[in-house]
């Protein structure tokens, strides 16, 4: 069984982790085209190379990010999500939004 290094808990059996999909940028849901939105929701590149993915260490409920090579399955690096997501995210205000 593969070992993954959790930034919080250290090296653990892969069975303790849950894969959370690739880290991707959501297009602005209120201004993007249907095509852009469908691309975001349904498609992934599935290319050979290093991907950046969400992983959850289930026993501690901790989400972090891993860089993994899709061909060799080598996990190159794992790190806290705050390295990428380091500030509060605000969605652009919808044009017709009223405070509800």
């Amino acid at each position: 069984m593969k070992i993954m290094n959790c930034p919080l808990n250290g090296p653990r059996n892969i069975s303790e982790f849950v894969h959370g999909g690739e880290v991707s940028q959501m297009p602005d849901p209120n201004s993007c085209s249907d095509m852009e939105w469908a691309d975001y929701v349904f498609y992934s590149d599935n290319a050979i190379g290093i991907v950046t993915e969400w992983w959850l260490h289930a026993p501690s409920g901790y989400w972090f990010i891993a860089e993994r090579h899709t061909a060799s399955d080598e996990i190159i690096r794992t790190f806290d999500a705050s390295e990428i997501f380091n500030q509060r995210y605000e969605f652009p205000i919808k044009a017709e939004e009223a405070v509800v």
């Binding site: 919080l8 808990n9 653990r12 059996n13 069975s15 026993p59 901790y62």
Partner: protein
Amino acid sequence: MHTIQPESYSQRSFIYRQFSGEKSVDNTFMQVAGGVLALSTGKDSDAPGLIDLSLVPRAGFRGVNAEQYVNSMGFPVPASPNQAAMTSQGECVLRLSQKEFWLLSHPQQNVCDRVEGYALPENGCYPLYCQDSHTWFAMTGKHCPDILAKVCGVDLRAACFPPGAIAQTSVARVNAIIIHHVIGSEQVFSIMSDSASATYLWGALLDAMAEYEGQVYGLNKLIE
């Protein structure tokens, strides 16, 4: 002879039935917080033991200001996540992440009483529900790492998991926190896990211990 029984109280251990009914013949109980736990099971040996601490008071705090809060109450704060520190009164402070702390009472004390005297910070510090979300068992005896190796994939031998170490992992396929620390006079491995899985886990641990003649003990094993 009048003896106190778990069902006389509104707070009950998640596994109190393992100590009542037919299994209660040799048991005596002692009051812990608002309920009772087994004080003695009539067994005493050097064999590995499993002890129910489910009702022993504990409090948890999470948030950016949790560390400062725990510190302000005079508790020692472990330097990094997954480490535990003991207080002079036999309490145990767990640091589960940068911003999550649990305070475990000594079985004869109530850490929650002590916490009540301190106001929570305005924000960034949220009390947790670890008294009810998690069950608390303690395993005693020198075979703990061997026994736990039958149910857990983390190396818990002393060289890798010295006193003060914490592992948040899976035990018999249930998420659990394992703590290597001292309660009273005993080196124990505390296991804190989903309270709804308590009966299952208790059984799985006793099964793993059977090879080493594991016994169910009461609190007297720890507090003499």
